[in-house]
Amino acid sequence: MSVTVKNNSITPVLEEPPLITGNQTFASITEKISSITETKPGKGWALGFSIAAFLALILFGSIGFLFWEGVGIWGLNNPVSWGWAIVNFVFWVGIGHAGTLISAILFIFRQRWRTSINRFAEAMTIFAVICALIFPGIHVGRVWVAYFMFPIPNQMEMWPNFRSPLLWDVFAVGTYFSVSLMFWYTGLIPDLATLRDRAKSMLRKRVFGILSLGWRGGNKQWKHYELAYLLLAGLSTPLVLSVHSVVSTDFATSVIPGWHTTIFPPYFVAGAIFSGFAMVLTLAIIARKIFGLEHIITINHFEKMNKIMLLTGMMVGYAYGMEFFIAWYSGNDYETFTFLNRAFGPYAWAYWTMITCNVFIPQLFWFKKIRRSIPAMFVITIFINIGMWFERFVIVVSSLSRDFLPSSWDYYAPTIFDISLLVGSFGLFFTLFLLFIRYLPMIAMSEVKGVMPQADPHYYEKHD
């Protein structure tokens, strides 16, 4: 190399802090993470699980009653025919996006810090998509013909409308779910084999033996595994963008002011990543504390995630601003009215909740102290979760409640069943999540080992 770097005096200042702290060895990582799934969980887990399972039962109970009684139990009214069910659907699909971004896009961008958080972010994706899929399913009213959503050949020659974004949703979210599941499972295989090898009981040996698909950790297996992982990452990357873009077309292909605007696809994607990161962080902070994972999920990981939230939060803010500006610039009375109505009409409280939580509060992340303060970021992520739910509420409800015909205007308010379904969906989400951290390695052991200093082939030469 012909260039000689003249002055290296500033290199140490910029040295990236190590990703994994506390002088970990390969063995200590395996022990730390596997033992969580091998020992009996503490009281905290049991308490959390009972609460979550109770809420999940409320969800199933409410769904049962909904099927019995019909969608009339919701607060829907004449102009507002899409209420909380659609809000919840978009909210949960959005939550999932962080997992895919972390596992696929950060992988492609060679961001090695992702290894500490990707496993449970991906798990969260899968559980969030499960929660999301419930809502359009129960929204159809006649749930016994829900299979009409799929283009199944039938003797009546009845087909779904292929030009309907609702059908695109079925495909987009279905694809998303299956690819995410495959990606997650592929990543799990080496760790499942580790659990199998450590298993003491016959049952664990058998179960993990089957699940790990005969993994032996040979050279060839790793070679194939890594190629498969790269290909799945490549397949997942467009999905990060496409799924929420398709969800946005549910609204944007219509002619309703406030729904129909061309920035919707990228705007929804940014919002999805924003809310997803907030949820990953909320969960990570709790899990890290309870299971003592401070050396693996370090404050540096959190700081990086906070930066991504700051960025995506501002992207969402950009979209809010552009919508407002163009609503005025269009010179279209309906557009202008819709946006003034959002900000100053009957749903102004929801609008300003959204703006405060999504645009103003995340600005606190400009300060390094706050980016590195766990209590502060915990509170902020909760605000973001609330704000992003309200964003979907504002979009869905405020545009519908005051449509083109003032005589049909109405105010939408949820009923107890709207609330029980939302709360219940959180119950289902946490039930699945708690089961996951109890029975499967919540951190990708094999990947974390790959970013440790010991993984460098020359490590032992230097340290002998």
Binding site: M1, S2, V3, V5, K6, N7, N8, S9, I10, T11, V13, L14, R163, P238, L241, S245, T249, A252, T253, S254, V255, H260, T261, T262, I263, F264, P265, P266, M314, Y318, A319, M322, E323, I326, Y329, S330, G331, N332, W366
Partner: protein, 394 residues
């Protein structure tokens, strides 16, 4: 062109600079004849050429800030080239003057009598009026120049006496710089391009222009780096691996551009509201249809398929051809968005399209090589230079 191995400065670039400058000036002089022959056509051609070159400048500006913010390692060896492109901002500010002079030929909202008879334009007059238009453009250029100059000066200062403080400064300037950039490029796209049809509007339009600008910048970065390489300069420093990463960006941002273009098209087509659909209707008339299809096939599908594999991205002669193709498509994209506002029946190419493109481009290239020659072509003391030099894609 030669490289001084000790100081990493280019020498003997005079010939190249003179050629670029001469080509630019001669082409502009020829175009002046066109100004007297067909004034409106002169301004149309000028605007499209200008929007192309300014998009390259802005795209480079974005990449410089992006590299500082993300703390890139691989991109460090390319930074001087990108900075040189970014520093064409003052030139682009000067070259904006003809657009202001041609405002009445280009923007029909600038005619008071038209606005008076058009209730919609009357509503927008608070925003779309000549004074505010000029002020806004001046503000954009002012902000861009202030930020870019600070970034460039700090980067140069690092060559002499590197401190950790400078690295922090670069990040601290880039972070708010990004916000300023996002807003200004969007409004610049609204002002300069979208308001050619002042009745039409699209919230994604700023992002649409931005996504094209990234392709423009990547294309010129690649061509400049390849020109250095063809003169046996920085052959070992800017390795095939760096080209590979640039090509990945080119591939990725082609998809990004396609995503923006498709989002806008799909939503407008689907909702079918006349005041929006008119945009695509006008661009589907007569021979404009050819350019519309070019957007799908030429601007998206060909680079998408043509940059997919690893070998395609690492084969430099091939990559060069693909880069030129993408730049051509980027130009045609802007042409297809801008010109149907004036020629309603079909494509009208003018000889001035070519002379003004070369004219602005000549000055542009002259300035880039001048800037590159004035300072070392590598940021020699960047703390990540070492890592960048050893960049390898497994």
């Amino acid at each position: 062109m030669k490289l001084d191995q000790a100081t990493y400065r280019l020498s003997d670039t005079n010939k190249l600079q003179t050629r670029a400058l001469a080509a630019g000036v001669i082409a502009l002089l020829i175009s002046v004849v066109g100004f007297f022959v067909d004034t409106q056509q002169f301004f149309i051609s000028y605007l499209v050429a200008y929007l192309f070159w300014v998009s390259v400048t802005l795209g480079a500006f974005f990449f410089v800030m992006l590299f500082h913010l993300t703390g890139t390692a691989w991109g460090v060896v390319l930074r001087r080239i990108i900075e040189a492109i970014m520093m064409t901002i003052p030139l682009m500010a000067i070259l904006f003057i003809p657009v202001i002079l041609g405002i009445h030929d280009l923007y029909h909202w600038s005619h008071a009598d038209v606005v008076a008879n058009d209730p919609i334009l009357e509503k927008k007059a608070g925003y779309l009026n000549v004074t505010f238009f000029v002020i806004r453009s001046a503000v954009y250029f002012g902000l861009w120049y202030l930020i870019a100059r600070k970034l460039y000066k700090t980067s140069l200062a690092m060559d002499e006496n590197p401190t950790a403080e400078q690295v922090k400064t670069l990040r601290k300037v880039s972070a708010p710089g990004m916000i300023v950039f996002a807003l200004t490029i969007s409004f610049a796209a609204f002002d300069w391009l979208m308001s050619l049809d002042p009745h039409w509007y699209s919230t994604i339009f700023g992002l649409y222009y931005f996504s094209g600008a990234l392709l423009g910048a990547l294309g010129i970065i690649l061509l400049v780096a390849m020109h250095l390489r063809s003169n046996n300069i920085l052959v070992e420093e800017i390795k095939v691996d760096h080209y590979h990463d640039l090509a990945k960006f080119l591939f990725g941002f082609t998809i990004f551009w396609g995503y923006m273009a498709f989002s806008q098209y799909l939503l407008i087509w689907y909702a079918n509201i006349p005041e929006e659909t008119i945009f695509y209707h006008e661009r589907w008339v007569g021979t404009w249809k050819i350019l519309a299809l070019m957007q799908v096939f030429g601007n998206f599908l060909i680079p998408f398929v043509g940059l997919m594999t690893r070998n395609m991205k690492r084969n430099l002669p091939y990559l060069k051809k693909m880069t030129i193709w993408i730049l051509l498509m980027h130009y045609l994209d802007l042409f297809w968005v801008a010109v149907p506002n004036f020629h309603h029946k079909g494509i009208v190419f003018s000889w001035m399209d070519l002379t003004l493109f070369v004219g602005i481009g000549g000055l542009f290239m002259w300035l880039i090589w001048r800037t590159l020659a004035a300072h070392p072509v590598l940021s020699l003391n960047d703390p990540k230079l070492e890592e960048s030099l050893h960049h390898e894609i497994p």
